[in-house]
Symmetry: C2
């Protein structure tokens, strides 16, 4: 039996082949588009598979996402929903995401982008500065990633709140949930960090109305999915001063097309979807664990709820 691998970057395939071979040497590794006999494909390990690909595999027993999210798989209208789908929850990636979030929150808290602009302009000027304990950070999403980031921001002394669809509790973090809790959460978030899964409910959640409910001059960090941001609403919010900065790691179209106004806006700080890249050596262990569980009929880990969409 074989695993069908499909990722967005070809250099990844070799690293995954080696890493997975260390875990399950008996498993044949086929890299799309070379599928061979579709009936021999037992597992799929994929990022953004084209519509219909997974439905064409008659003996598929498990679909594993190459990332923490699964929106890129659920968007397939022909997705075989009788086959279980698992998210990739790799502690290595969680650490990477928290590093990214901490770095960006610290930069915004410490006015680093302002100081960089001052350096370019030859200006020596100290800006008013509070300590982390006086800075209110809000995390949208308290799943694996949001929870880890919240705990680490709290450990640095930030005044952290979190918002999630259903009630969750994280020690030392003010927790809000549901539509009813969103207003109070936003009203206190000087730095808003999005770590939500992308679902029909959260698409475009970062929009003009949400920005208007933040304190004036708040900053935004989106490290989740480009689809969370209503793109047309961002630049007006920055230009009016309602938002001071936007840090974006993810975009609706990736790579971000040349000429897109985000590239050149002086209050948009972007990175090319690097907050938490998949790391084959550690991720292969997590993936192989689920493959083995599937074969042995044991409980799968991090199974997606097709209803909830994550």
């Amino acid at each position: 039996m074989a695993v069908l691998f499909r990722s967005s970057s070809s250099d990844n395939a070799q690293r995954w082949r080696e890493a997975l071979a260390r875990e399950m040497p008996e498993l044949e590794f086929r890299v799309w588009p070379v599928i061979g006999d579709p009936a021999e494909i037992e597992f799929a390990l994929v990022w953004h598979p084209q519509p219909g690909l997974l439905a064409s595999l008659p003996n598929l027993r498990l679909i594993a996402s190459l990332g923490a999210g699964v929106d890129h798989i659920l968007s397939d209208p022909e997705l075989p929903r009788h086959v279980p789908l698992v998210r990739l929850v790799d502690p290595y990636m969680t650490v990477a995401m928290s590093e990214y979030v901490l770095m960006q929150v610290l930069r915004l808290h410490r006015h680093e982008p302002d100081y960089a602009a001052q350096q370019r302009a030859g200006i020596w000027r100290e800006l008013p500065q509070s300590n982390a304990s006086e800075r209110r950070v809000g995390i949208l999403g308290l799943g694996e990633l949001g929870r880890d980031a919240a705990v680490k921001l709290r450990a640095l002394g930030f005044d952290v709140a979190g918002w999630s669809r259903t009630a969750k509790s994280v020690e030392g973090v003010a927790s809000f949930h549901g539509a009813d809790g969103l207003g109070a959460f936003l009203a206190r978030s000087e730095i808003l960090v999005c770590l939500l899964p992308l679902t029909s409910e959260t698409e475009n959640i970062l929009n003009r109305e949400i920005f208007a409910r933040l304190p004036r001059g708040a900053a935004l960090v989106n490290a989740a999915r480009g689809g969370h941001l209503a793109e047309a609403d961002l630049i007006p919010a920055l230009d009016s001063g309602q938002l001071s900065w936007a840090v974006l790691d993810v975009f609706r179209d990736e790579p971000l097309p040349a000429g897109h106004p985000f590239w050149r806006h002086e209050r948009i700080l972007m990175t090319p979807h690097v907050a938490a890249a998949t790391n084959p050596p550690t991720a292969a262990r997590v993936v192989a664990d689920n493959f083995r569980r599937c074969r042995e009929g044991r409980t799968l880990l991090n199974v997606v709820d097709y209803e909830a969409g994550y």
Copy 2:
């Protein structure tokens, strides 16, 4: 009796007057150059006092620095060394310094300056990325500030070492000391952070020979004093690729003079001495505690050893 206050910025005086009045309402607050009767000055609370000022105060009982360092006071050749001198050790400032160090180490670790350059050039390219546990950070100086930064970097998973003049131990941090320990410490420091006191021994410690002993492409963060850096050695080290980036918060002349080459160098990231600004509301409590100890003949805290120079 009165305290003589002298800082580098006039807006600070009013904040200090109010903060110290809350702690010691009976203490008259005189702002240099208005000294009044020099015989009435019991305490000096100063930053970079001009040579001879402190020697002109016949009844001076205690000199308190407005910062964590005292090099700006010890440089006075007429300094009355029979009067005790105390450093300002304010937990609020320690937190601020660690925020700054963490922010800069995370930026360098996560290639943030490279991504910023890529954004300006319209380039979408992912760079190889390791986790914090695979990144070796070296802290020069394990005093109050170095120790706090080391512990917090360790908590984020970084592989941290520290170097100090005399042996010190910090849990989870590889500790090196003295001239004998410097080589091994430098050889492992991919990101070198200077938090040393400025003394005759540490002046110009950040020089060509030290840079040559770091791994090629190492990055430097100087958040201590401008005098630690041999300025003429920095740009050649950056231009040759021996150093990848230098983050500088402090300079020999502050404000950094217009036209100084550091302003425009593309691999120098500067901030205007803001890593750990004195915060009067919290610092006044620390200062007042020492003033009261002095009056009551109790042990002073954070007394400077005039021999060691810190």
